[in-house]
């Protein structure tokens, strides 16, 4: 099942057992409230192919049949997904559904966890990122990541942003480096707030500022893709709004994948949305479609807040 481009109305779990198939799928949305809670397990047990369009034209990154294991425990089951250029894709789903795990696979951050094993195909511009010849350092320079909790280094604001360019030798001299730092801080929308205190420690900023500093740090390496792992979960609403605005601006130049727990956030910032459940990609589609007209029963239940 390399691609699943057919329209979802004809795509009701051809591979799963037919006896269970009857109890799920987009046609059963109107099922009674009373039996719903029990049926979720049944639905999950019979999850089959992803509903919706997993492929895009000219993808920046794409995953095909990706399985992820932590020791013996499988965390992700055969996920197919594309990430397009100049687009924000958000990944939503209940806790432990594997969305963060998938995100971390996209720049091989899972390499830092010794028991983690990834199989399947993940590509960046058509090249296998887990291939023998692929260098994780280069990959991570091209695929930047912003983490859940703001994690500025215990260095000055300037040094935080200059860290990546220095590592990779992106600047030839001090003035070039200054340019990179200032541009990055500007792009991250934090320059005006910190321009007088570039030498102050990055850890002294507020939470929202710290997160924007981390974003500036990421874009200073001029990546092609930015991965964001619940970037606003530790922030207050005002800081969140600023970050969301920033994501909108950044999407003009970068491919962005964002994991979020907030459905409103997903609706606000992303063009496409992917819904995960227990390690399986349940449904993908245009954000508007997913939130207004979900086709899979689980998606519908999650979005309407009946579990998760």
């Amino acid at each position: 099942m390399t691609s699943n481009n057919s329209d979802a109305s004809t795509n009701t779990d051809t591979s799963s057992a037919s006896s269970v198939t009857s109890s799920l799928g987009p046609l059963d949305l109107e099922k009674g409230q009373g039996t719903k809670e029990q049926s979720i397990e049944e639905i999950v047990a019979s999850l089959g192919d992803t509903v919706g369009k997993t492929r895009v034209d000219n993808p920046k990154m794409s995953a095909t049949g990706v399985d992820v294991f932590y020791a013996d425990k499988q965390a992700i089951f055969g996920v197919d997904l594309d990430i397009a250029n100049n687009e924000v894709i958000s990944m939503i789903g209940p806790s432990g559904c594997g969305k963060s795990t998938l995100l971390r696979c996209l720049n091989r951050m899972n390499d830092t966890i010794p028991i983690c094993k990834v199989t399947g195909e993940l590509t960046l511009d058509g090249e296998d990122i887990y291939g023998r010849d692929t260098d994780p350092v280069l990959l991570r320079a091209r695929v930047g990541m912003v983490f859940q909790k703001p994690n500025p280094f215990p260095k000055s604001i300037y040094e935080n942003v200059a860290y990546g360019p220095r590592l990779h030798g992106l600047s030839r001299n001090k003035s070039e480096l200054d340019d990179i730092v200032i541009t990055s801080l500007r792009k991250a929308g934090i320059f005006e707030e910190v321009k007088d205190r570039l030498d102050a420690p990055g850890t002294g900023l507020s939470g929202g500022q710290q997160q924007r500093l981390c974003i500036a740090r990421t874009i200073a390496c001029s990546p092609e893709v930015i991965l964001m792992d619940e970037p606003c979960s530790a922030l207050d609403p005002i800081a969140t709004a600023k970050i969301e605005e920033l994501i909108n601006e950044l999407s003009e130049n970068y491919a962005i994948a964002i994991v979020t727990h907030s459905m409103q956030q997903a609706a606000r910032v992303s063009q496409r949305t992917a819904y995960f459940h227990l390690g399986k990609l349940v449904e993908v589609g245009h954000t508007a479609d997913i939130f207004t007209n979900p086709r899979h029963e689980l998606t519908e239940k999650y979005i309407t807040g009946r579990f998760g």
Binding site: P114, K117, L124, V137, R142
Partner: protein, 450 residues
Amino acid sequence: MNHTDPTDSETSDADRSSTDTLGMTRSDTTAKVKASIKKRYARERRFRLYGLIAILSSLSFLAILVFTITKNGLPAFKQTFIQLDVTLDAKTLGLGDEPDQAQLLKANYNGTIKKALLAQFPDVKKRKDKKALYKLISKGGQYDLQRQVMESPDLIGQSKTVWLPAGDDASGYLKGMVDVTIPEKKRRFKDNQIEWIESLKQDNRVAERFNWTFFERGDSREPEMAGIKGALFGSILTLMVTLILSFPIAVASAIYLEEFAPRNKWTDIIEVNINNLAAVPSIVFGLLGLAVFINFFQLPRSAPVVGGLVLSLMTLPTIIISSRAALKSVPPSIRDAALGLGASNLQVVFHHVLPLALPGILTGTIIGMAQALGETAPLLMIGMVAFIVDVPATITDPATVLPVQIFQWADLPEKGFVEKTSAAIMVLLAFLVAMNTFAVILRRKFERKW
């Protein structure tokens, strides 16, 4: 395709980074990163190597140390004996007809042995040679003979075949520790002595046995007769005093500090104090012991009781700190449950918290005791460094302890003491390893994750 070990591929990538197939992209980041990546990976490998070297060399220090000690110490567990036919005639012994015990004690056993040696080698005539000959048998040999005669006085007047311990140099030679290729003049063990020993060997008059002397005797000036029994008992007595004093006091103060103490300045001071005491050099505790226990309270010098006092002051912080950690790891839910049933604060602690924390406390105590067992410096201060032959029986007898015995022997010039020192170290290390292993087992067995 399976990528089972990501870290593996991470390092092996380095070599191939120049032929990276990710290819050139529109961004020039890639090109710039690639330019320096080889160097960066080389640095990565170098750094990793430094770490590995550091660990391996630390471990090899350990290996060298253990190897040296074992190599030097193993021969000490063997003792060589020489068989002689001694004639216990009253005249040589210098005894009258009806000798009493006191006379038997002072009889000339040495002369008897010398005579037996001369009988064995009748050709030896020169004074100098005779002296060399006598050295084949240890000076301690006479005490063995003395003991035998005192046990059964009717041996007097008879001939007897006895095994006597070989002298320091002779046993060194028999254990293969004398390099015969060295010119005779530079050797302590001379050619004629070698000749005698070889002839004794041919007569089957030389034997090697397990060295019980080493465990059955106290200190001695003769390396072949020196044993660790006195030091061992001194250590045991000292540790007993230490344990009896430090365990209850440490547990009591840990309980108070962890369970009852209000958070105020005073408890803060106590806490800082305990942490500091744990890092105070041990010799300072020795000074305290000397000034307070010996000069002020007039307690006897060299006694295990003073040693134990000093060591328990020294180990208190260690035990308190680990006991507090153990108490802290008992979840508050258990306290709440017992309190909810109407138990008083003290009952909660003594009935519920303490039993649960006990394995942790014991582990800490054993580690503290192991520390005390290996401690030397403070004991030097309180005079446990005297030359003591007798085995101490009570905690006020003068005594020495194992590490101090090692220190004393290490200073002695006789070659035989090098092996004795190493052997004593092996015994000490064996005790320490046993204690630590026990602590680890205890911890593993009762370790609980709440």
